[in-house]
Symmetry: C2
Subunit: 455 residues, 2 copies
């Protein structure tokens, strides 16, 4: 069904709004008009799609609103001051510099016009395409409470991570200056909403900072007395992990002094703290710092497609990843709702990477007039870390936890990082931080100096 | 004259507004009331003052509006994407963590009340002192044109450096998207105002980025065609350096393709570029990106002292660094106007460091009832780098330039960096960037995505 045996031919003009392409002509005056593949998003999905098109006779344009590809599994380590932004991000241009059929544009995509075969930018510019790979990723979902966002920042971009770091470190600074004991307690209370991998890793890292890294730094407060609460709506942490790993994660966190509150639904976040429901009881925690590790919402780009969306705004493609309605549009990553063997695929890097590669290969098949292949995800496992020297994982069906799981996690993540320099620097940082229990990049940047309540 | 043979005695109560001290009492209930030294600023001057008080029987409070000490001589390398913020900054708390008589507070100082012996914070909190070391540093001076500041950011803090980096990289990105040749040229024109070490180092690094690091990354523009103009009002670059070094610096820059315009006074900076006067002629350069490396203005804290200030707002202390009017106030660093052998001392790290140490020692002398010593600056030399593999310097009277000057500059700067990890990481970054000509941390962070003219 999603085969596209008649792509636009190489020389066919798209009719309208191709002034960009014409502008580019002078630089390759003798080139035939090649098939244009536009990739929206430079994350794991988009980048792998671009790489899979290496050497193919297509003109690839990759659009992203940031100039860097981000190694998102380590983003929480930037938020908790273990790594610098430069350690886990590389300029997309640099990664693709040798792939001559790709151009990278820093651009905010606002919508897709499937009828006109155009990707529309927020500034109004249209980018024409013959095929498009949609991999814009996800944003934070606040479950219908957008007013919570300024109080409880999420973790998707480098700026998010720096904002989390800023708030966390400023809370300790403000507590050191505070003379009112009650306000001091509130400043030293940290609530993390969401017990998935992001929330678990954030809580573990935050507990370590308070109990180990900062112990010597303050004179009036004892950072190790900070209260760290992890709130999860479901009955378990790490809902998508096997049972023994869930229990191991909970135990590791509790050993680090994190209060784990499962079965607790957040009902309110205000200037002074968080309210949540546990069964019929309503509870309240006064906290200056609230971090959001919960649900994700699909990109608003999906709406412009005019196809049916699921509850959180994701698009369901055919098994080939192409849309039934528009066979030249392919869905990849968090925006793609894909059910395999009766279970939806999780929103993790591995899924996006495999989908990106698969979508690109299907585009090449379509151009060559061959039948498209259905996508099938190969699960190599999932992992989460809980502080220094402890992790839980399920690799090839083997459940591991503790120190060796952690070493394996480090090995895997260094191996996946793009660029030798990053691997080397991150390895050094980890070795340093393991030996000294110090987090040396705990710099507060950003101009807003103080949280509201500190003065 | 500035001797202070009768400091407040150890047990004397200051009378008013010492609630902070009382709040702290419970944690050291048996301590006698110790002499309170407040240090304003955690730069080279303030940090060295704190360290010189190590082990002394005084209670030191160090106030800074950032939580980090910044190695400012390398700040331009963050601005030009060679180093990460974490490479050249360390948390002040961490640096001083083992010095038990120091507490560090993240605080914005608004004024000094010499009569009440109080440092006042912007939130109104008063910090009482027996002695104060004033080392708040300098801000950018726009020569009576504050309206230029948003168009031409200066370089004093990590946030300044990240803002410069953002503008510079965004200009290349916008040029890649731009189709109008005239606007594209303007986007690829960079003007740096000020031919001191900051301006020279920025221009050299920027030229290298355009001519080497970015060459492979773009498809529509040629980054190496970027125009880089360095504008200096005086007759020479590096006005405080010896003649042969000035010439060497100019030649090195011109070899990198930088247009050097000396004797040129900037008369206007607007949305589209820079206007300047050269003799009687007025000239204009259309440029998207204007960077400010020119004059510095003293901190507004000086005004609150009620003592005479020089033209740019600096304070002239006695030879002991204490004020004639208030012998318990010591001036250190850029805020201190100090003439030695008929020449004012330059605003460099070495001067601030030596003054910080000297002020602290004089405070200990005053407490001990000993006569204060006059300050004397020992000049070990000055250096500036001009791109990869080239520097100029005057070390112990020896004038050096070229590759060996650059190696020496690297050695010196690594040696001065605080913390082993920083030294190691910075050395690695430099080796990597020297071998590959790549600047791997060219990440654009900050939420404002596009300069005004790009859409």
């Amino acid at each position: 069904m999603t085969e596209n045996r008649e792509p636009r031919t190489q020389t066919q003009e798209p009719g309208t709004q191709n002034h960009r392409t014409q502008e580019r002509e002078p630089r390759t005056p003798n080139a035939e008009r090649r098939t244009r593949v536009v990739i929206v998003g430079g994350g794991f999905g988009g980048l792998n799609a671009a790489r899979a098109l290496n050497g193919a006779d297509v003109q690839v344009t990759l659009l992203d609103r940031h100039n860097y590809h981000l190694f998102q599994p380590l983003l929480y380590q930037v938020a908790t001051a273990s790594l610098s932004p430069g350690d886990i991000a590389s300029p997309i241009r640099w990664i693709l510099r040798k792939q001559r059929n790709v151009e990278v544009l820093l651009a905010n995509v606002s919508a897709i016009n499937p009828a006109g075969r155009l990707v529309l930018l927020t500034n109004g510019d249209p980018i024409p395409y013959d095929y498009v790979v949609l991999a814009p990723g996800a944003a934070h979902a606040y479950f219908g409470h957008p007013e919570w966002e300024p109080r409880a920042p999420g973790l998707k971009t480098l700026d998010d991570a720096l904002e989390m770091r800023r708030r966390m470190l400023l809370a300790f600074e403000a507590a050191e200056r505070e003379t009112d004991p009650e306000r001091q307690r509130r400043l030293l209370t940290f609530v993390i909403v969401g017990g998935g991998p992001t929330g678990v890793e954030l809580a573990g890292a935050l507990a370590e900072i308070a109990r180990q890294s900062l112990v010597q730094d303050f004179r009036r407060i004892r950072p190790e007395s900070a209260r760290i609460v992890l709130i999860e709506g479901g009955p378990h942490l790490l809902g998508t992990f096997p049972d023994p790993l869930r229990d191991a994660a909970r135990k590791s966190l509790e050993r680090l002094g994190v209060e784990v509150r499962t079965g607790s639904i957040v009902t309110g976040i205000d200037d002074r703290g968080v309210t949540f429901k546990h069964g019929d009881a309503s509870e309240r925690i006064d906290a200056e710092t609230v971090l959001w590790g919960a649900g994700v919402a699909a990109s608003p780009i999906a709406k412009s497609l005019g196809v049916p969306l699921d509850r959180v705004g994701r698009v369901t493609p055919e098994p080939t990843l192409a849309l039934a309605q528009y066979p030249n549009i392919f869905m990849v990553g968090d925006l793609c709702w894909f059910v395999q063997d009766g279970r939806p695929l999780p929103g993790v890097a591995q899924v996006a990477m495999q989908q990106g590669t698969h979508a690109a290969k299907n585009i090449l098949r379509a151009i060559a007039g061959q039948p498209l292949q259905p996508f099938r995800y190969k699960d190599y496992g999932i992992m989460a870390t809980i502080g220094r020297g402890s992790a839980v994982g399920d690799i090839f069906g083997l459940k591991i936890s503790g120190f060796f799981a952690w070493l394996f996690w480090i090995f895997l993540h260094i191996f996946w990082l793009i660029g030798f320099r990053n691997r080397f620097v991150v390895m050094t940082e980890w070795a340093w931080s393991y030996m000294t229990m110090q987090r040396r990049v705990r710099l507060i940047t950003g101009e807003r100096l103080w949280p509201s309540s500190s003065s």
